[in-house]
Amino acid sequence: MALEKELETFRRELPGLLNDPANRGTFALVRGEAVVCLYPTFEAALAAGYDKFGLEAFLVKEVTDHEEPRYFSRNLRCPM
């Protein structure tokens, strides 16, 4: 599945990132096994991802210990 490695990297690094209060609420740009950098907004991290990695896959995730879920009004057939 797409971004599985990046998600694994993010989950591994998240506790360390959360140790610094300044990182909370920032957005991590993740590629492969590395958290490349942190950015103040999702849009800034996304723009940096395009600049650094072009058309290759990368992940943007918020540095938080409680990600607010979104709501979707239909049942999904399977995890995407």
């Binding site: 058309l55 979104r70 979707f72």
Partner: protein, 148 residues
């Protein structure tokens, strides 16, 4: 202010949407001399019960996109403590109205496989998009307006 208006179909407010690659990806594809995929046409239900918009997976496949993030999503059958993890894609949307198209560039929407054969829709436009405009439902007249 552009707007989309229509009659309710089976009680639904349905609009036509074109989904294309985001502007940064468009620039990258051109820079590398790749073909930019044509926008994909989708019929979408305006849904105030969804906090995020979702489109059929085939849309992202046709645009040759990979997701840019993953998010937890709660559905009617999802236990609140174990949300679905879904892929979000960076796209540009254009709403079809009045013989033209009206862009909502650089928007993140989720992939959702939940469409029934014959119902004629493959997307929900949720509050993430609706909150960018003015949505009015005129129940007795069976009409709706979405101005943006």
């Amino acid at each position: 202010m552009p707007y989309v208006t229509g009659v309710l179909i089976r009680g639904w407010a349905i609009i036509d949407v074109l989904v294309g690659v985001s502007r940064p990806r468009h620039r990258l594809l051109q820079k590398h001399h790749f073909t930019v995929p044509q926008p994909v046409h989708v019929r979408a239900l305006l849904d105030t019960g969804a906090s995020i918009s979702g489109f059929a997976p085939r849309v992202f496949q046709e645009l040759d996109l990979t997701p840019v993030t993953k998010l937890g999503v709660i559905t009617p059958s999802t236990p609140a403590h174990t949300p679905h993890e879904v892929d979000l894609y960076d796209v540009s949307l254009a709403l079809v109205a009045g013989g033209g198209t009206h862009p909502f560039p650089d928007t993140r929407v989720m992939a959702a496989d939940c469409w029934l054969p014959g119902e004629g829709i493959e997307a929900l436009i949720g509050m993430d998009i609706l909150c960018r405009g003015f949505f009015q439902l005129m129940g007795p007249e069976r009409q709706f307006v979405f101005a943006f």
